[in-house]
Symmetry: none
Subunit: 242 residues, 4 copies
DNA sequence: AATGAATGAGCTTTCATTCAT
DNA sequence: AATGAATGAAAGCTCATTCAT
């Protein structure tokens, strides 16, 4: 997630579980009105709180306390609890897709793009464990937000995969189903080795083993590696939109 | 899911979303005391209710109403709401693993076992959408139940995969990571094409596309098909315990 | 209000404005289950509280405190605050109509029936100032309850007035409009000399002056008084149903 | 209501129930400072909002929005919500009394004055349904405002009635009680046939029936009609602006 | 073995009012 | 003369859990 260099709470170490006052909130952003800053504080506080508490327990009281504002202030910026939840999901979705495409930007092959993209995804997951937590609950809280999240990621995958299929770098087939399968693997490994292990990095061996599986999933003509030169120009042009 | 012949509500058609009185509850099971029957009614009612409502909204009142007993009765059989949740998870976990191994029982190759196992999993998912719903929330409600669920399934996968690696039917590698990846793909496809499509079957094309990806994930010596005869005996002996 | 001899809080003296514990609630009524008693306690407490506080300030907390039960208990018996409000209105409506017809029962002429009915209404107003308070707010809180209240009273007036018009005891005309006018005068005098004067009785001079006006409103052949003997049999048969 | 020629929203058609931006507010009144105009806008907005919402739901936010000013501005002109409520009541009271006396101005008998006055009252009620709404709630919100409202109207009635009693045009008796009774009838008929029927006019038959009752209420020597000539001079001199 | 009345803490949300600008 | 962000108390309502019967 090279695109988001702003220091974030819990960014490097394991995530802090205490829903205390948001730290970064006081950092003033140029050209940001008072109201916008309060809104941002609340959004960040909500993300923070949603790392530790589920939707029901993530009370407005906890969020406003973490943001350092009064309860009533919340409703100046969000119409309901579900509203801020949806906005947290949307914001994290935007960020994670940005992080993945940024990470994969310099890749010279689809496979390298995957390796970089997965690494970017895992980095983001460590920095924003709320993404995982929030998605897990969205099924009940906001089904549309959930569908939107997965579909946007899957769609971002689509053309790169189609291009790679065209060059033979990836075995021909339904790119949507392949996209879903790749997402699924990334999410599962992230859950098991980052979330469950409380913010640790995915161990190198695990990452490499996973990449072997990913490599096989992509398939390719069997000599995809040798066609890299051809493919990468295509790869580079793809999947940038966030 | 050939191993679960007990009639269940909504077993054949699309799942019934109304959390009304549990139907099968009055079916008497031989040698079942009155108390045991009440317990079973509550457990089934809870599963039913958890299809439609999330953990917080699945109130004791709804569960007892669906079970046709008074609220107080609940605490004769379960110590708390979390208790019955854990037991629903455990029960569904037992059932889904049973369903998968039963489905794969006659397979003559690892690949065929996977095909049958996935088909069994999807069938179970349609019949018990609560499994998906419940797992999605377990992260917050009962983390240990969640870990236990995935780990038990992964463990069941372990020796079959190890055996298949030994025969060359599956590419050598860390079987645990492969198991997690396979689970992940199954869960994602099930979510996308069963849960989101409200209980429909996974379309045949999707299933076949997915199986192509699964096939590549397993890898193998490239002539795995020809070694089927050898493998299946091994396969048959594995992963049965429920 | 001879029909309601059960002692009521504030029944004889001026109404007690403190929304304290309902006194009569502990009086057990034969054949009344525990649940019914609690319901009755709440209803009486609500009437009590609504004497002093308007709908918005008559909080569930105040009502349950006055009833001596926990807040949650309220929702075992009433689905919402509006629900109990409607039921208080309905109950008071039933009671006031009963009080008026009971009071007028022995009348030997329409005029005497009016005199007794008005006296009964004033007595009821003193004993149940909530009626007046509640009706004043019903326009916004529960318009249907309001309309129902006035219409039921007006309807009860209808046939007695028609009968009296038939005998010439009352001047011919639209009995509905006459009924509304009579109600209105009663309500205004009750407001001015009972409610505003904090539960005092309507002074005799005021009552007599009002009766002169009522007498003129009814009109009649001018010798209605002399036809009393004829009329009262009719009068007696009318308007009893509650 | 010939005395109030300032155009008002919804003056001719049925009253507009939407609490949107006050229309007439931008009409500039000669010699009115900016501050006075804002004050007037707020007062009119409050009346508008109070047609649709009760005191509690008529939030400062709704009033300021309807007036097109910021919330803070409200407290530059009114010290509290009750303050503006009282001023709305006072203003409507002033207006309704003006409307009634203006309407009755040309009358040549007490009876004709009543007929014209009632017609004026009904016209005003249609144009300012807020009057009815506001009065209904004043009991709790501002008892003194309520008493003041009724008493001022009653007092205005006093000398005309006394004069008419002196001439025999109206039966001798306590004029105050007669005044209250007349007010009550007007209010009831207005409520029933204007407010409940959403701003319709009082049907002619209803009005005539009511006038028959009013006529009887006034009583008189029986040949009041023939003494009109005598009476009207008195009547004309009376009852005026307060 | 079962009932269902009762509890009370805790939730989301609204709103009159204040105050720095 | 006006703004609008911020406050924080208080409301209605839900629910897991207890307990007398």
């Amino acid at each position: 997630m090279s695109g988001d260099r702003r220091p974030r709470p819990g960014a490097t170490g394991p995530p802090d579980r205490r829903p205390t006052r948001v730290q970064s909130a006081d950092v003033s952003v140029p050209n940001e009105s008072k109201g916008e800053r309060t809104r941002r504080k609340l959004l960040e506080a909500a993300e923070q709180v949603l790392v530790t508490y589920d939707y029901h327990d993530a009370s407005i009281a906890k969020i406003t306390e973490a943001a350092g504002v009064a309860q009533g202030t919340f409703y100046l910026y969000f119409s309901s609890k579900k509203d801020i939840f949806d906005q947290v999901v949307a914001e994290l979705n935007r960020q994670v897709r940005h992080a993945m495409t940024e990470a994969a930007r310099g890749a010279t092959s689809r496979l390298e793009a995957e390796r970089l993209g997965f690494a970017g995804f895992f980095r983001f997951t460590r920095e924003h464990p709320a993404l995982y937590r929030v998605i897990r609950q969205a099924e009940f809280v906001s089904p549309s937000a959930l569908r939107n999240h997965y579909e946007k990621i899957a769609e971002g995958y689509l053309s790169p995969l189609q291009d790679a299929m065209a060059t033979g770098e990836v075995t021909l087939g339904d790119p949507m189903i392949l996209a879903w399968s790749l997402m699924a693997v990334g999410e599962a490994i992230g859950m098991r080795w980052i979330i469950w292990d409380e913010g640790k990095e995915v161990p190198a061996e695990v990452f490499e083993e996973m990449m072997k599986i990913i490599t096989r999933m992509l398939g390719g003509s069997g000599h995809a590696e040798s066609t890299e030169g051809l493919v990468n120009t295509t790869t580079r042009r793809r999947g940038e939109k966030v």
